[in-house]
Amino acid sequence: MTTALFSVAGAVAVVAAVVVVVSRRIVHAALWLVLALGAVAGCFGALQAEFVALVQILVYVGAIVVLVLFALMLTKAPMKPLPELTTGRSPFAAGVAAVLALILGAGVVFAFGNEKIKPVTDGSAKTVGTQIFKNWVLPFEVLSVLLLAALIGAIALSQRKKED
């Protein structure tokens, strides 16, 4: 059951991801990204990681993609297809990516080919929360500094110069 669910979600994610990187309409790409991320969230769900799945939807689909769309608007991204959105090097890039995929895939298959995941539910918000606040306090705190710094940095960059 979970396997089937995962497979469907995974297939959707792959298709959506491919469209994201090949689409000529930049806004479509952003919207396909939503689908891809959502599908990945489905995968998380299939892997019994509910909390992660929820956060994924919340943060990615809810926040990040919206941010991206805003950015697209601010940079006056056109709605029409743009042939020059992909560089001339794309076949080469595809080759590089394919080689990388082959190597990694082969390595993964050789290493973990016989392993099975037993369906166990430990992905609740409580488990994860306990983990964060018991064992991973320091990274969490540092992450807060990161968020603050990124925020302030983004604000500082967005401010107009005084003479403007």
């Binding site: 560089t87 090097r89 080469f92 590089v96 990388l100 190597i103 990694l104 390595g107």
Partner: protein, 587 residues
């Protein structure tokens, strides 16, 4: 001012040598070592010794040096300071050789002489022939000295000492002994201008004549003879070396005598005759007997006297006439002008040539006879070596007379067959003889130059009797016959105004061009090759490294296109490459 100081110092120094010779005469042999230093288990240092040989050589050097220094007072007019200083140093170097008991001390004198001769031969450095002659003299002797140095190593390490008096041939293995002496012989051959290193000496003639006298009579070339005499026990212990020496000497004496017969310049004739006479001394030494050594030294002494005399005479010719070339001198022979104007010179030169030719009664006669006698003694014992030496010396004696008489006649006398005489030296330029130079100002040299001539002329006669006359009549007769044998053709040729000079002899057997082609040219090529190699091979690599750096740098600059996606692509390729590497290493 400085010149005067050096003049006085020079004369004083040579007188000092004489004084020492006189003081040391009859003294018991003695040695004294000083300034030694230990190098490993070897002692390297200086030592001096006095014995009969030292005294003899000191006397010879002293006399000749005094004569030369005094003579030079009148002879030399430019750059006198450096000249006298160098002559003094030259003499001092020879004295060092003579009194040394340390092979290294000896080597110092030996090579300083070479350097001084180089500088003195090049005294007239304005002249091309002087420059090249000087260089040639130095390089050839230097080449030989390398062998000499190695000989010192071999002998010194073989005997475990560099003290001459401590070298005991009995304690050296025969192979080492032969190698060592042969190597020393190379040095001797070079220094004394024996075949095959003979070509420098005739070319050294552009030097001032007194220097030639010094080189040929008392220093430099005599040093070779002295050295073998000094190390006679060692040399005579090695049969091979003696044989080689004998062959070299015999070839040289004939070779040089033949060359002398075809030379057309007084000094060149004399130079070749020196080579020839030295070879006679060497041949005597090569006999390996005490008699031979004695004969060689006797001949060395007499030769010093008459050869010094002859060169000083030639110097007078150069000084007064301006040239010693027969072709020039020929112009002054009309009405006996030359011998009348230069009366003292003529007389003393006659004495000298007579002594050289071995005319009975003159010193050369006696000393040469001693050599022949020693060779005869050896030959009588059935030694092939002895026979070789005997025959060669006899032939050389005849040849010597030939070229002496030829020189004497063509220099001072007008040939009866006038026309032919012109052609003999002037390549058919008939007008030359008619063009008589202004000889009104031709007069004999000042007394300061003539006095040494007279002194040496006396010595050239008297020295023959110094050894006590113990003449073997048989040999005396034979050598007289040889003199006549040589004199007759010379005279008859002169009578006929002919001076046949076979090309081979005139070109001195082609040794010079051969050396030029075999040594000088290849070395020049090699030199150019080395420079080209440095520039185009080694240097090219260095430049290539530099250029590679520059090119690589520019390449990296070009890669820095500013396009961040190129950067990213390169980076990801790097990751893939490292991943592949990981796969390769991991499996």
């Amino acid at each position: 001012m400085i010149a005067t100081v050096w003049r006085v110092a020079g004369v004083g120094f040579s007188l000092l040598i004489l004084l020492f010779a006189a003081l040391l005469y009859g003294a018991t042999p003695d040695q004294y070592a000083f300034m030694n230093s230990q190098v490993g288990d070897l002692t390297i240092g200086f030592a001096v010794r006095t014995d009969d040989l030292t005294v003899l050589l000191l006397a010879v050097v002293g006399v000749i040096a005094t004569c030369v220094q005094v003579y030079s007072l009148g002879y030399l007019h430019q750059r006198a300071a450096s000249y006298h200083a160098l002559v003094t140093l030259f003499t001092a170097a020879m004295v060092t050789v003579v009194i040394s008991d340390s092979l290294f001390f000896l080597l110092i004198g030996w090579e300083v002489m070479g350097a001084c001769s180089y500088l003195l031969i090049g005294h007239y450095w304005e002249r091309r022939d002087a420059r090249s002659g000087a260089v040639k003299a130095f390089l050839m002797t230097r080449f030989a000295d390398v062998g000499f140095l190695f000989g010192i190593f071999v002998l010194g390490l073989g005997a475990h000492t560099f003290r001459i008096s401590e070298i005991d041939p009995a304690r050296i293995s025969p192979g080492v002994l032969t190698t060592g002496t042969l190597l020393l012989l190379v040095g001797v051959v070079g220094k004394s201008a024996q075949v095959p290193l003979q070509t420098w000496l005739p070319d050294a003639m552009p030097g001032p004549s007194p220097v030639s006298a010094l080189i040929h009579a008392a220093t430099m070339v005599a040093a070779g003879v002295f050295l073998i005499a000094r190390l006679y026990t060692v040399f005579s212990a090695s049969g091979t070396t003696l044989t080689v020496l004998a062959i070299v000497a015999c070839v040289t004496m004939l070779f040089a005598a033949l060359c002398a017969s075809a030379a057309v310049e007084v000094k060149r004739v004399l130079a070749w005759s020196t080579v020839s006479q030295l070879a006679i001394m060497f041949s005597a030494l090569s006999l390996g007997t005490a008699d031979g050594r004695h004969a060689a030294l006797f001949h060395l002494a007499t030769h010093a006297a008459f050869k010094g005399l002859l060169f000083l005479c030639a110097g007078v010719l150069l000084h007064q006439v301006g040239s010693a070339a027969l072709v020039v001198l020929r112009r002054y022979t009309r009405r006996g002008k030359l011998r009348k104007a230069l009366q003292v010179t003529f007389l003393t030169m006659t004495v000298g040539l007579a002594a050289l030719a071995g005319v009975p009664g003159f010193a050369g006669f006696f000393s040469k006879d001693t050599v022949i006698e020693a060779a005869w003694e050896k030959a009588r014992d059935g030694s092939g070596l002895g026979w070789l030496v005997l025959v060669s010396v006899c032939l050389t004696a005849a040849l010597t007379t030939f070229y002496c008489l030829r020189l004497w006649l063509w220099t001072f006398f007008r040939t009866p067959a006038l026309a032919g005489g012109i052609g003999a030296f002037e390549d058919g330029d008939a007008a030359a003889d008619l063009d008589e130079p202004d000889s009104s100002k031709l007069r004999d040299a000042p007394w300061v130059m003539l006095a040494p001539l007279v002194l040496l002329a006396v010595a050239a006669i008297a020295l023959g009797y110094a050894d006590g006359v113990h003449l073997n009549w048989m040999i005396g007769l034979i050598s007289t016959a040889l003199v006549l044998l040589g004199a007759l053709p010379a005279y008859s040729l002169w009578r006929r105004g002919a001076d046949p000079r076979p090309l081979l002899l005139e070109r001195e057997f082609g040794a010079d061009p051969a050396y030029h082609g075999l040594v000088v040219v290849p070395v020049r090529w090699l030199a150019k090759l080395t420079v080209a190699g440095d520039r185009d091979v080694i240097g090219a690599y260095v430049r290539a490294v530099g250029r590679t750096g520059t090119l690589a740098s520019q390449g990296f600059r070009r890669l820095q296109t500013g396009n961040v996606q190129t950067y990213l692509t390169a980076a990801v390729i790097g990751v893939v490459a490292l991943a592949v590497l990981a796969g390769v290493i991991g499996s």
